[in-house]
C-alpha cells in the first residue's frame, strides 16, 4: 500500500532527474528486514534513507517480565551471530550486580568461546562480502572452511550457532582434553586458510577493483559519528574494548589491535582477516594456559539492588549493556546498545557521494556490508518498546542535516 503511494508521489515530485531504488526489506543483499531508500542520479548515490524498525520484537520489555535465568536465552536471541558476546555481556552485568567473580577456568573458556565466535562471525562476513561483490566462488570456499569452526562450536556447546554457553556465574560446559586437541587442530587448518584468503584479498584484481577507494570514512568523521569496532579501526583509529576496558582475561592474553589506514572497504576486509588471525592465536593461548578447576559458581536467582554497566567487544564493535536490579528476580530495567546502531550514522556518511568521491548503486551492498550490519539488534535498540512501530524513514533532509552537523 504504502509503497504504491510512495511511487505515486515520486512521479509527481520535483526531482525529475532522480528516482528511488528501494533496497530491502526483502532483498538478497540484506537477509535482514531493514529498509534503505537510496536517492540516485543515474548510477550515483546522492542520498540515503534508512528504516531499521522491521526487526523490533519487544525484547527489552520482555526482559523486564522474565527472570534472570530465562533472560540469558532471550538475550542470546537478540542476535544469533554474536550471541556469545551478548550472553557474555549479560552474564558480566549480572555478576557485577552480585559482586562476584567467576573461577579462572570459566574465564578462559568464555574468552575462548568469544574468540571462536569472532572467527565464525568474521569468516561469515568475509563470505557475505564476497557474495555482495558477486564473487560466489570465494563465498563458497570461505563458508566451506567456516564449517571447521562451526563444528568446533557444535562440539563444545551442542549447537552450531546459539551456543548457550555463558551463564550467570560461569560457563555451562567444561572443555575436555580431547576437545582441546580438536580445537587446536581446527585452529591450524583455519590459520592456513585465513592466510590464503588474505593473499586472495590482496592480489585478486576484481576484489581490489570493487573494494579499494570505496566507502571512505575519514578518521575524524568516524570519531565524531561515534563509529565502533572494525569500522573505526579500518579508519586508522586504535580503539578496542578488549584493550581499553579489559574484561574476562584480555589483560592477560596477548593480542594486537589491528588498524589499517586506507579508510575504505578494502581496509575493513583486511582488518577483519587480520583480527581473525589474532583470534586464532588467542584461542591457542587459552588452550595452552587454561588452569584446572571449577567452571561455574552458584549464584542466587535475585541479585541485590544495584546497577551495572558491562562492555564487550563484539565482532562488530563495542557492545554495552546497562542493568538495574530492584532486588527481585526480574530486572527493573535492562538496556542494550548494539554496535550496528552506533555505526549507522557512519554508514550513511560512507554512502553519500562527496565532492571528492562517488558512490555507485553497485557499491551499496558492499558498503552496507562493510560495517557488517546486524539490523536485528539495531532495530531492537532504536525502536525499543514501540509496539506497532511503522516506518521510520530517515529522510534525505534529515540525513543531510545530520551530516552537516557532524562536519561542523
Amino acid at each position: 500500500m504504502q509503497e504504491e503511494e510512495l511511487q505515486k508521489t515520486e512521479k509527481k515530485s520535483a526531482y525529475e532527474l532522480f528516482f528511488d531504488i528501494p533496497v530491502g526489506p526483502q532483498h538478497p543483499a540484506l537477509k535482514e528486514p531493514a529498509f534503505f531508500k537510496f536517492r540516485v542520479e543515474g548510477e550515483r548515490v546522492v542520498g540515503v534513507d534508512v528504516d531499521v524498525s522491521y526487526n523490533h520484537r519487544g525484547i527489552e520489555r520482555a526482559l523486564e517480565d522474565r527472570n534472570y535465568i530465562q533472560n540469558i536465552y532471550l538475550i542470546e536471541r537478540i542476535c544469533g551471530i554474536c550471541n556469545v558476546a551478548h550472553t557474555l555481556c549479560y552474564a558480566q552485568a549480572v555478576e557485577q550486580l552480585h559482586g562476584k567473580e567467576i573461577p579462572p577456568r570459566a574465564n578462559y573458556i568464555r574468552l575462548m568461546m568469544e574468540e571462536l565466535a569472532r572467527i565464525h562471525s568474521h569468516m561469515l562476513w568475509l563470505g557475505v562480502a564476497a557474495h555482495e561483490i558477486g564473487f560466489d566462488t570465494l563465498f563458497m570456499y570461505v563458508w566451506r572452511d567456516r564449517e571447521v569452526v562451526m563444528d568446533l562450536i557444535e562440539m563444545l556447546t551442542g549447537n552450531r550457532v546459539t551456543t548457550a554457553v555463558n551463564t550467570i556465574g560461569g560457563v555451562r560446559r567444561d572443555v575436555s582434553n580431547e576437545a582441546k586437541d580438536k580445537v587446536k587442530k581446527g585452529m591450524n587448518v583455519l590459520e592456513e586458510r585465513l592466510k590464503y584468503y588474505r593473499k586472495v584479498a590482496l592480489n585478486d584484481p576484481t576484489v581490489n577493483a570493487r573494494c579499494s577507494g570505496v566507502g571512505i570514512l575519514k578518521p575524524k568523521d568516524a570519531i565524531r559519528l561515534c563509529a565502533v569496532g572494525p569500522t573505526l579501526r579500518a579508519s586508522g583509529v586504535k580503539n578496542d574494548v578488549r584493550k581499553d576496558d579489559p574484561y574476562t582475561l584480555h589483560d592477560e592474553v596477548p593480542f594486537n589491535v589491528i588498524t589499517f589506514d586506507t579508510m575504505d572497504v578494502f581496509a575493513r576486509v583486511l582488518v577483519r582477516i587480520d583480527e581473525t588471525l589474532e583470534s586464532v592465536n588467542m584461542v591457542r593461548y587459552c588452550l595452552d594456559h587454561m588452569p584446572n578447576g571449577d567452571v561455574r559458581i552458584k549464584l542466587p536467582l535475585s541479585p541485590p539492588v544495584g546497577e551495572a554497566i558491562s562492555r564487550v567487544e563484539a565482532p562488530r564493535g563495542e557492545l554495552i549493556h546497562y542493568a538495574r536490579s530492584n532486588g527481585t528476580k526480574n530486572p527493573e530495567r535492562y538496556k542494550v546498545r548494539t554496535p550496528t546502531f552506533e555505526n549507522l550514522p557512519s554508514v550513511s556518511e560512507m554512502l553519500t557521494s562527496k565532492s571528492d568521491y562517488e558512490v555507485n548503486i553497485a557499491d551499496i551492498p558492499i558498503i552496507l556490508a562493510s560495517i557488517d550490519p546486524c539490523f536485528s539488534c539495531t532495530a531492537r535498540m532504536e525502536f525499543r518498546d514501540v509496539s506497532k512501530g511503522k516506518t521510520w524513514i530517515w529522510s534525505l533532509k534529515e540525513l543531510k542535516a545530520h551530516c552537516s552537523k557532524s562536519r561542523r
Binding site: K100, E101, D244, K298, I309, F341, V386, K405, S406, R408
Partner: protein
C-alpha cells in the same frame, strides 16, 4: 584518565553542586552472601564512574567532560521510569565509562540537548523523547521517530503506566 582523576576534576570544578559521585571499587560489596565462602575481588567493576547531577548543571557537566576532559564518545543513553521521576543517564566514554545521571519530573520533563556538543547523541535523544516523553530543548529535529503514525499524543511506551499487548492472529490457525 583514571576514575579518581575524573572525580577530583569534577569536584574541583563543580564542588557541592554535584549530588553524588560513585566509583564502584575493587573488593567492595563482597561476601555478604553466604553461598561462596571465599572472598573474591570484583575485577570487572573497574573503570566506571557514576555521577549524579541536578538538572540545572547537567549540560555544564557534560560540556566540561566532553570539551575539557575529552570524553567525546556517546556510548549510550538510558532512560528509565522511576515512579514520579524520569531518570536519564548518559554514558560517555573513552576508555572509562562515565555515567551522568539526572532526574526530571515526569509531568514537566524538559532537559537541554547535548547534540551541539556531540552530534552522535541525536538519535539517542530522539529515542528517549519518543519512548519516555522527555523534551530535549534545542534539539534540531525532535520528532517522534519510533512509534507509528497515529500513535496517541501523550502515550509513551516505556513509561510504567503503558501496558503493551500482543497482536491478534489475522488468520485462523489450523
Amino acid at each position: 584518565m583514571e576514575e579518581n582523576e575524573v572525580s577530583e576534576a569534577l569536584k574541583n570544578k563543580f564542588g557541592k553542586k554535584i549530588l553524588e559521585i560513585k566509583i564502584p571499587k575493587k573488593g567492595e560489596k563482597v561476601a555478604e552472601d553466604t553461598l561462596i565462602p571465599e572472598i573474591m575481588e570484583i575485577k570487572v567493576f573497574k573503570r566506571r564512574v557514576f555521577v549524579t547531577v541536578p538538572i540545572e548543571i547537567y549540560k555544564e557537566v557534560i560540556r566540561y567532560l566532553v570539551e575539557e576532559l575529552g570524553f567525546n564518545h556517546v556510548q549510550a543513553m538510558t532512560g528509565l521510569d522511576a515512579g514520579k521521576f524520569i531518570e536519564v543517564m548518559l554514558h560517555l566514554g573513552r576508555g572509562i565509562t562515565i555515567t551522568v545521571r539526572t532526574r526530571i519530573e515526569k509531568d514537566r520533563s524538559v532537559l537541554s540537548t547535548i547534540t551541539d556538543l556531540v552530534p552522535g547523541a541525536s538519535l539517542h535523544e530522539r529515542e528517549i523523547h519518543d519512548l519516555l516523553g522527555v523534551v530535549f530543548e534545542g534539539h534540531p529535529n525532535l520528532t517522534r521517530v519510533i512509534v507509528p503514525e497515529g500513535w496517541p499524543e501523550n502515550v509513551y511506551p516505556l513509561r510504567k503506566e503503558y501496558h503493551p499487548e500482543q497482536p491478534k492472529p489475522i488468520r485462523e490457525m489450523s
